[in-house]
Amino acid sequence: MFRFQSLDEDCTLEEEEGLVEEEDEIDQFNDDTFGAGAIDDDWQEEHARLAELDEQVRDGEVSVPPTVAPAAAASSPQPSAPPPGLEERGGGDLAESLARLILGTDPAIAGVGAAGLPKRAELPPQHKTLSEALPARPPLLLGYQQQHLRMGTAPLQVNSRSIWDSIGFGPVGVTPGLGPHMEDSSLLSIIKEVGLPKQPPPMRSDERRDLSERVPPPRSSSPVIGSPPVRAVPIGTPPKQPLSHMLNQQIHCPTAVHVRAPIPHRYAHPFPDRLSPNTLLNITNSPLCRPPFPGGVGPVLSQLQRAQLLSSQVGAFPRAGPVPPLLPGGGGGFRPFFGQHPPRVGPHIPPNHGPIRHNTTHLHPQHRRLLTQRLQSRGDRGGRGCERRIRDPYSNLMTQREKDWVARIQMMQLQSTDPYLDDYYYQNYYEKMEKKQERDRDSSSKKEHTTKLITPQVAKLEHTYRPVQFAGSLGKLTVSSVNNPRKMIDAVVTTRSDDEEKREKQVWNKRRQILYTVEKMYSLLLEVQDFEKKFIQTPEEQRDALLDQHKNHTIQLYNTLREKEWDDRVSDEQCLMIMSVRKGKRLVSRLLSFLPPPQAAAVVMAIARNLPALAKKDKQDQVLCWLVEPVSVVVQSLSSSALTDLLQELQGSEGQLPRVLQNKFGVTLLYLILSEGERMQSSDANCQLMDDNRWTELVFSVTRKLLEVPPASLSPPLFTPPNLLSLFSRYVDRQRLELLQEKLQISALSR
């Protein structure tokens, strides 16, 4: 990709004025570029000093032409220090090829500044204008904003000695003329035509200070926590052009260099994991796949550099453990070409000699054969294209390295832990082919071996996150990272057995049914309640109809309650069912007032009969007492025989009365009945209450029970009718009366 610094609209290309203007602002950016620790030396002196050193080194041995640029001293404009690239053209072949070689071979060397070859040669006149233009460029570099300028295979020499060169290029990176490569002249021509790319817009002064402190804080990476390893550069960044030999520079001026760590140091990860195309490139490409050089210069790496490279390679090698070994010529795993140790770089590597070096996809051998055939045929065609390419001035803007890089990314995407999942059709197709071949082979009985595809698979690494736990602390630390995102909800799956589920369902169904019945009754009840209102509103003619309707409703209501067979008896079952729900109780209490007396009486009977059960069910709701009022109304309207019956019902089964007495409602009901009886007796001389002994007996038993029952289990009633005392006085002797009185706390005035 082209590295124009800003692609904004006003990127005018005739920018002499612009460049000149910004010369003044260059110093403003000094701190930004070089950091707070920039030493404000006289760069010229520094440069001279170092250049001398260079000369010594150079003369002494065949070594890397040093980069003469302490970052501190490299204040931007260096008008008289010719851009090294320019000089190279005039310089010795040895020097420039060396420079190129080193820069090309060792990408690990985070370059700082340009390879200075000062005082080497005359500045070629045609480059003078450019060199003048160049210094005007501020060395300001905004990191990843800058892309790399492609210049064939030869690396660019950067004029600026900014410390940010290790990340990318300085904006000045347009040094033309790097030797005999034709592509370089293309760049030169580009520059001539187009001018230098526009500088980034100058920043405001208030932002100036912030830039130098813009370094992000160091990120921690912990395998325990599970965070991904910290990368010097993000995985997706394109390869940077390997710059000059920081190494030598370090040797010469160890103090003043602010550089980032060279890349191989960072290569400490297991092989198939978290690889970036860059690291791969660095390792595999570094000394080895440079394009051919003229002159056949041997590799000139210092011992240190060589050791570095080899160690990084070697270091990577054993870690490739999980990947199975490279099959000879066949479907290899994803590995760089460790298996093939190419000869040293120096000798000429034929450019189009394409053994498939990087077996990164597990291709079926048949497939591979087909493809190599195709490749060869294409290779024949490609020869003709070469001529055209030579004439194309802009060709090869994308270096081989970059192409490799893109290819590597694409290859990485093809790694598969489960080929049958990812590439189903391919696998199947070749399986079928193999089977067919076997069949054919058997039939034809040839001695050919059918080549089988053995696909190596990238090992699936499972990293389970174990939360960090400190000794002696409660609980565990939860640190969430990319690989183990935070668990927000601790959802536990509870599975119920079938039986339990059934039971639960049944219970729910029953309840739903009850509620449904209650709802239906309610709607009827509401109709009944609203009858009066409606009656008033309807005209005369329709009143009969309404009346009929009303009767129907009430009948219906009662019907739901009553027994199937008996008309005058309320079904216990139904009653219980309905009254088990709170709403049902409410319903009944409202209902009672609307039912005709005999039916109401029947309902009350049922209640009395089932009181213990009802009481038990009512424990949660405690709403039985809603019933008191309507029930009392009903009781007071009862006939004596009905009353007696009621009392009997209340005492019905054995042990019922005590339970009744335990319940508030029960006690209240009892009192109601008794008081009603008493009232009857006292008011009406002709009452039939005494006609049979039932009433008397019942009352006797009641009093007995009342005396027997311990006070604790006697629930206080809602109210105590006043005439109970007179009632009891009829039936019990004085002593007992007093006892009762005490127990029940009834007095003549009690209410």
């Binding site: 394409g354 498939i356 591979r368 087909l370 493809l371 490749l375 803007l397 994308m398 290819a407 694409q410």
Partner: protein
């Protein structure tokens, strides 16, 4: 050329060739492919935007294009030999732009009439709008899910 991914259609081999690129907005660009990246972002050199109307076409020189990969519909290498045998007639830019404008106008009018005929018909309207209708036929069979790999297996 090193062939890292045999059988795949990597753009790497297309570099420095003349290509025709069709963009999602309908533009046709012709230029030399200079650089690519993993997203298939393209750098086209000496780009020319070619407008086709009927049997005529007109070229607008555009210079250098950087195209974001997601906007590319397709691209293909131009056979320089075949290119010489011109079937279509080149015209000037003004003329072709004028022709294009007329074409667009005609299209719009056609759409309008379609809407008038059956305004409720959603499908008609959609088709009348002349948009690309993307029908997503996805196979839910897990096994047969292909990974996105622009390969041509023989």
């Amino acid at each position: 050329m090193m062939n890292y991914m045999p059988g795949t259609a990597s753009l790497i081999e297309e570099i420095d060739e003349k290509h025709l690129v069709l963009l999602r907005d309908g533009r046709t660009l012709i230029g030399f492919l200079r650089s690519i990246d993993q997203f298939a972002n393209l750098v086209l050199d000496e780009t020319v935007e070619r407008i086709h109307v009927g049997k005529k076409y007109g070229d607008i020189p555009r210079g250098i294009f950087v195209i974001r990969g997601e906007n590319v519909v397709l691209l293909g290498e131009i056979d320089l030999i075949k290119e010489c045998k011109r079937v279509l007639r080149p015209v000037s830019i003004e003329e072709i732009l004028e022709d294009q404008r007329c074409q667009q106008q005609a299209k719009q009018e056609a759409e309008k009439t379609k809407l008038q005929v059956a305004p409720e018909s959603y499908l008609q309207r959609a088709l009348g709008a002349n948009q690309v209708v993307i029908v997503n036929l996805s196979f839910h069979d897990r096994k047969r899910r292909r990974k996105g790999r622009f390969s041509t297996r023989s």
